[in-house]
């Protein structure tokens, strides 16, 4: 079985995420978003200012990634970022990790429960039958 071998792109977000910097950032990540099944991790540890335009850009990235069967995950959220994401009810839309490494690892580690159980079942020796 093929385990995920596609690259995970980790991008550090700028300190101030307003409409201008959000546009620039979106332009930077556009090529990755347009690839097949994009896997992106945004590191928000440096973010000290996040406004509605920045949140909108994050949602747009996620929307684009979902269209191509990929995903965008967030990591190392600063206090500012957490508070604004909670305030705008968008934190529930993203998978959020403590570190970028955890977020990147989660792309390869994730398997749907049904598939995981099937794999375990296949690997496990047959259980002894009750007499």
């Amino acid at each position: 079985m093929e385990i995920n071998s596609r690259p995970v792109v980790v991008k550090r977000m700028p300190e101030r995420l307003n409409s201008r910097t959000a546009r620039e950032f979106l332009r930077d990540v556009q090529p990755f978003l347009h690839s097949d099944r994009p896997q992106l991790v945004f590191d928000l540890s440096q973010v000290v200012q996040l406004d509605a335009a920045g949140v909108e850009m994050l949602l747009r990235c996620m929307s684009e990634a979902h269209k191509r069967d990929g995903d965008v995950k967030l990591a190392s959220l600063s206090d500012q970022a957490v508070v604004v994401l909670e305030l705008t009810r968008t934190e529930r839309l993203f998978e959020i990790y403590e570190t970028s490494t955890d977020a990147a690892r989660s792309f390869s580690g994730f398997l749907p429960n049904a598939m995981r159980q099937q794999l375990l079942h296949n690997k496990r020796p047959a259980a002894p039958m009750a007499a």
């Binding site: 509605a52 949140v55 305030l87 705008t88 009810r89 990790y97």
Partner: protein, 388 residues
Amino acid sequence: MDIRGLLLVNSGNSREKDSPFLASGPLGTLQVAGKTALDRTAERLQKFGISPVAAVVETAWTQAATANAGPAGLNSVKVPPDRFWRAAENAFNDMAQNGAELVVLVRLGAYAEIDFERLVQFHLDRGSRVSQVSHQGQDLEVFCISASRRNDAASLFRSRLTRCRSECPRMEAGGYVNHLADAFDLRQFAVDILTRQTQTSPAGDEIKPGVWAVRPAMIEKGARVLAPAFVGASARVRTGAVITRCSSIEHHAQVDCGSVVENSSVLPYCYVGAGLDLAHSVAGMRQVANLRRGVTVEVPDRTLIDLVSATSGKTFLSSAAEFLTYLPRVAWQGMISGGKQPQPDLNAALRKTSPALGKAAGYETPACDTEAAHKFPNMVVVRSNGNQ
């Protein structure tokens, strides 16, 4: 017996140094459930027959301190910071000259519900010149001073209430005490007032059980205010907004359409944008103190959190425009929709993202469309950290 009250309000309270909302003055002068701690303390002194009550307020803080008229009989003196302690001493001397026998001195900071009758009795029984109140071993800046002992009073004022010239017995206070040192204390104070843990009550009228409002508060049709809650004078809760779990919306604050304010305090003149989820927080002065995370962040985006101007013509013009266009809007909505507007649903409101996010506002979590969501329609399905 002639007993008078003296209240002091100034900066320099060491407990308040980390407070994020100091731009508007000490937390004792911020309105909580419609009244400041200054007003509540003055009212309490008067209730115990301690009258008249004078307040010495540092100039830098007077705007917040005198935002409302305060209780009747509170004589407020405004002084610049460099003359504050001299003015406090003069106010004490004036009281002594005018026949006061005892002066009860309270410095805000902390809000304490002290049995002043017991304090006076304690002072007289001990025959002391100055008595102080303590709470759980910590000294409060509440004193009872014999007016004839001017030297002792002068020593106390000159040391900024840190040193007594003679022996100063402590009376342990048993009532409610809130140090009002940070945003957490401010929020706790609102919760305690609304849940009636304190002897003081919210300002205004109880419009339905547990919901207090001060006229002319504006709660629009379709907004939900769930008890216990408080809506201050000229505050506005717009349609689709939900105010719940001991939240207080102070005077002139605005909660825009579809926002949920849960277990939070919205400070005076604060605007909370449309479709937001303000939970476990204190919002005001373009800042949000998230109490669950213990952080205070500045929110520069004015579509999210803003400051409503009390005096600008802009407020007047927008109100006038809204008034003039109200009837045409209602008529137009009636022609278009034809039916009754549905009641806002809390779960639906929570699922939506903020309209402040523009085009992305309509993006809903895929988790909401799962089989579980259809099976349990009243359950809000969310994705949180990791794969939980």
